[in-house]
Symmetry: C2
Subunit: 404 residues, 2 copies
Amino acid sequence: MPQASTRAHLAPPSPIRKLAPYADAAKAKGIDVIHLNIGQPDIEAPEEFWTALGAKRPKVLEYSHSAGNPTLRAKARASYKAQLGVELNDSELMVTTAGSEALVFAMMACLNPGDEIIIPEPFYANYLGFAVLAGVTVVPITTYLDQDFALPSIEAFEEKITPRTKAILICNPSNPTGTIYSAAQLHALAEVVRKHDLYLMADEVYREFNYTSEPVLSVLQLPGLEQNAVMVDSVSKRFSLCGARLGFLVSKNAEVMSGALRFGQARLSPPALAQIGVEGALEAGPDYFDQVRGEYRARRDRLVQRLSEIPGAKCPKIDGAFYATVRLPIDDGDKFCQWLLEEFSHEGATVMVSPASGFYATPGLGKDEVRFAYVLEEGRLDRAMDCLKVALQVYPGAKVAAGS
Amino acid sequence: MPQASTRAHLAPPSPIRKLAPYADAAKAKGIDVIHLNIGQPDIEAPEEFWTALGAKRPKVLEYSHSAGNPTLRAKARASYKAQLGVELNDSELMVTTAGSEALVFAMMACLNPGDEIIIPEPFYANYLGFAVLAGVTVVPITTYLDQDFALPSIEAFEEKITPRTKAILICNPSNPTGTIYSAAQLHALAEVVRKHDLYLMADEVYREFNYTSEPVLSVLQLPGLEQNAVMVDSVSKRFSLCGARLGFLVSKNAEVMSGALRFGQARLSPPALAQIGVEGALEAGPDYFDQVRGEYRARRDRLVQRLSEIPGAKCPKIDGAFYATVRLPIDDGDKFCQWLLEEFSHEGATVMVSPASGFYATPGLGKDEVRFAYVLEEGRLDRAMDCLKVALQVYPGAKVAAGS
């Protein structure tokens, strides 16, 4: 039997999904498992998506252009112009099979195998999987709950830079922390990037999920960084279209976009049906986002309030996306999250959250932290938090005395 | 400005699409460009695809399981059982974002960077692009038009095998030649694979396009090769759903499938809408394929007949898929194909075909060959062949005297 490749062995299983068998077992016992473990929103996509899809049934479902339908690309460019004030030409934006493919193409086009990419941790765990596919080395730089997961200082970044460093990747607003990086932090980061001539990749798929009064600064807006900035976007969260698998790769670096386009030609085209629908979704007005944002802000507020009632829990400032990485009075997040599914229920229900350890690349970090994805309506969220509160009173590894 | 990666430079542009600007220019002059250059069929998908899609509008378009919806996987497994007599368990089949992703995952899971994969040439040009992404080296083994592009002998394969050889990849029925490999050829190949403990990957996306009375043998059916065989499939051609971007990766090798699944978890899920529709399409009865096959057989027959009327043209036996790689009395296929678009028209039309050189990895081969994709109805096909016939009478690089 031939041996599978090294990367087949190295590719990490999804930390978000590894507890799934325990959740299935709990459900089989009749327990209502409330999912706060995965960023799968319960919000509906804009009606314009379905209208566009219903209105246009192509006679033959053909390959599209490898960079995506020209009409969709034009609308996407116009939306960045309107939203960010960034002018893009035709070759500076490419439609991808979701943000995932945009990230893979970005890493593949920017980094050689063995090159290093610095990523603030905790980070979206699948970055590790993409790095394995691209053969690049992830160098984590730790951010801290007690500092609201702020971007590290210039000096801290410079300590991580080696001759093999080729890129820094941020997620802003951040999954898994909900942090929005300030303009000052981003300008400092830009200085490092310019000084060391690195790529600055930004996963900005949560841009619209901003509960502050300040706009989220895109890497495309950082002056003097036009050739360094590579932006990844997706409709999965923006329009609640996770299953559509449609995203965008945007950069003014012609070499990067030319390479990505040739990678894209090999895989022929992004999904055609989603492209038709998303062209409609891009017509959704500010009302749609206002409503969605309002809903999530209320959920965020509820989560923060409920966490404040739990002795020993610490929730940092969460300004965006729909995640929070929170300290709980527990011995070990992995054990706790599994225990919630295997051993615990409260009034017929339990809550599923993700151990934060899976979002840190440095072993041992985040042991007493868990990630919440507050993607459910307030009633469900409340029920989940009721479960959590009771669970922490009876969990054998709890660090605070029950009832305190 | 940071430098793009080596693979960004190495990734080849699509040879199928590189003439597109000349075609656009011809169209802008009002010329009717008849496309026989790309495997984009004009056939409609089974109605069951659209019915299933219309019947099931999910409230939220969610991520699916990373291996695809369980109901879709069950139906796909049942179809392989019925069609090939191959029993598959749940972990031996994975839904992918088209055959393209299945090929990338297969290469990534089976080969390490620097490993070699032997591929009979001429081959589907995008294999080169996938190999660049995976960092693997393509070693071509030449097949010959004058031998009907038969699989090379065991000895010829063994001459190509080195300590770095890890896999052989075939396409059966073949794009770009239309060849169907005989059972004898495949059993001989299996012997080489077993002896050297290689992976045998097969791109079988044209399985249904078989104009002979013998079934196409799948690599999944080769005895004793269960741990070596990796099969790639797609609905793009089978159901004329190129834009759906849905395929399958199938293997009984647990390590390979486990690695592929973890790659798949990183990219979360294949497209949801296509999965819904394809579950319907899999219900399409034999009538659908009989009709499609009948249509393509008639087109194949027409192409062969019209080529037989062209002095100096040589068409090998074409038994399957919807391609033919044909020798024409020309100096250079690249020049000729470009000339057809730039300089030629006949009664307001011209024909677009692909230079075969782009399907050979060995420089200099296929210079007087072009690939036809006979994906248009007979009227259009006839018009294209009228153009070709006249073109060869006036083309400055023609090797046969005009009118002979």
